[in-house]
Subunit: 340 residues, 2 copies
Amino acid sequence: MKLINTVLFASVFAAQAQAADWQALPETAPAPADNPTTAAKVELGKMLYMDPRFSSTGTVSCNSCHNVMEGGDDSRSVSMGVHGKTGGRNAPTVWNAAFHGVQFWDGRAPLLEDQAKGPVANPVEMGMEDVETAMDRVRKIPGYKPYFDKAFGENSMTVDNAAKAVAAFERTLITPNSAYDKYVKGDKKAMSEQQVRGMEKFAATGCTACHSGPAFNGPQKLGEGFYSKFPTFADNAYASKYKFADDKGREEVTGKAADRNMFRVATLRNITDTAPYFHNGSVNDLGEAVRVMAKTQLNQDLSDADVADIVAFLGALTGEYPEITMPRLPATAGTSIVAD
Amino acid sequence: MKLINTVLFASVFAAQAQAADWQALPETAPAPADNPTTAAKVELGKMLYMDPRFSSTGTVSCNSCHNVMEGGDDSRSVSMGVHGKTGGRNAPTVWNAAFHGVQFWDGRAPLLEDQAKGPVANPVEMGMEDVETAMDRVRKIPGYKPYFDKAFGENSMTVDNAAKAVAAFERTLITPNSAYDKYVKGDKKAMSEQQVRGMEKFAATGCTACHSGPAFNGPQKLGEGFYSKFPTFADNAYASKYKFADDKGREEVTGKAADRNMFRVATLRNITDTAPYFHNGSVNDLGEAVRVMAKTQLNQDLSDADVADIVAFLGALTGEYPEITMPRLPATAGTSIVAD
């Protein structure tokens, strides 16, 4: 009897075994040694994250493109910053971004602390002259000082500390307890039959070659990137239709031809909530995205049934979003630091 | 002794007496008979209010220009809508908007329910073709249905109900317990000496001719506007410098010359947090705004001391902003209704 059970088990879970191991999402995120997450930093970071006054027009905050009321992004192919300007890449979700070893599609920022400084001075995002100019605005708001004092001590209103606070807040943006998490923790009824089938096909197809680990973004270590060439197989209709190869990816950061079309492997957590898909946001259907990935990365043509099953499984990766209280953004009494 | 006290009282409070009566802000707002405020409507309304997907670009929600994390506006002279387009008037605060008898600077919407429909189809605000097109987007989001069902019953996903929900949410945006409120309720230490002096000067100068009542916006009745000509005295440096008369105000609504430069009397609640000031957002200093008002409305030149005292008093009108939990905006699984 024991033998039979073992055989059955081995058969049913063969696909999972291929995926090395299925891991639930941790409930806390790793932080760098010089920026341990504290409640005071998180509180300040949330304020800075939500405050649009540090964009040139006063209309764009971190939350504008990485909206925590939604899937941590903005529902757009490419984001829209100040003056209606648009960038070249799709906004990655901020949810579980803490589980990425590096930030941005091309991994150009090792840590969330580095990433936080980027959009501020990007002319098509927040459009400030530079981060110090943005920080001057923060320093002009008296109500921010006590929060910096509490988080970092006296005389601490610096760009680095602002970025640390934002990163600390982002490290709390974790979505545990998805159907998948419950399933791998032992609740075998947490996923539907189709989702379990999809999970097996996901592994059998080879998706787990890159999309492994608790965030389904491959092996991760803070500051180290895990990249994949996209498209790996470029000679197909999808690659040309969606112009994936037009973006040189990480080559733009390193200048090395070997990094052409190399992109950070994206997390699949909450993927149902982050359409449209890919670095250029060119695909607005999760089923199509699955088909595209199988073809461009694994040179496989999936059946409609396979696609439906894998999409069902991906739905099991959508977790519980924690409740967030809106911060009160301190006023500049009787004057505006934005008014133009 | 009693007589002396009475005389002293009469002297100290002479100014207040002129203002008819000083009233604290009510803790609940009036609602029209056909839209009583319910928890289910407020919950739905908050979601719709925060959701940017009902703008053409997916970037502009009600909260973009009427930010409840700030003073209920956007720190800008005139707001910036889709594609970086700008309008002609300053965004009025949503805080305590429920205490206005009519909405918009020109009073063109009798109720918050009517106002809510305006910006959606305004090409320089949310930029949708029309409100029905925006409502089609709401209807495409399955997660909204249960909230409409709960608030309005089955088959209730209509523009009118969406507007009712938003209005119901806005009627909860009240900021009681300002220093002024505590003062008029009997806590005579709630305001500083300078604030009390400013209160007296505010009344003695004649500001209360228009800025009376609990919201300091004059007599109010739902659906009926209280307007003032601005500038009343146009032959002064302020009127020309800030080009106040360029905007025809309510004449644009009624077509009547008698309504030229007529504007709804604005609330002064939380005025410290809503710079820049006036319908065109041309004045970015509360002291200057006080000087301007005294000159253009009452033909008076205030001393610097008077201005400082009145500004101090206006600071006492900033109340307690209630804590708001961020709504979770329902996803459209595996697709975006915005993607362009």
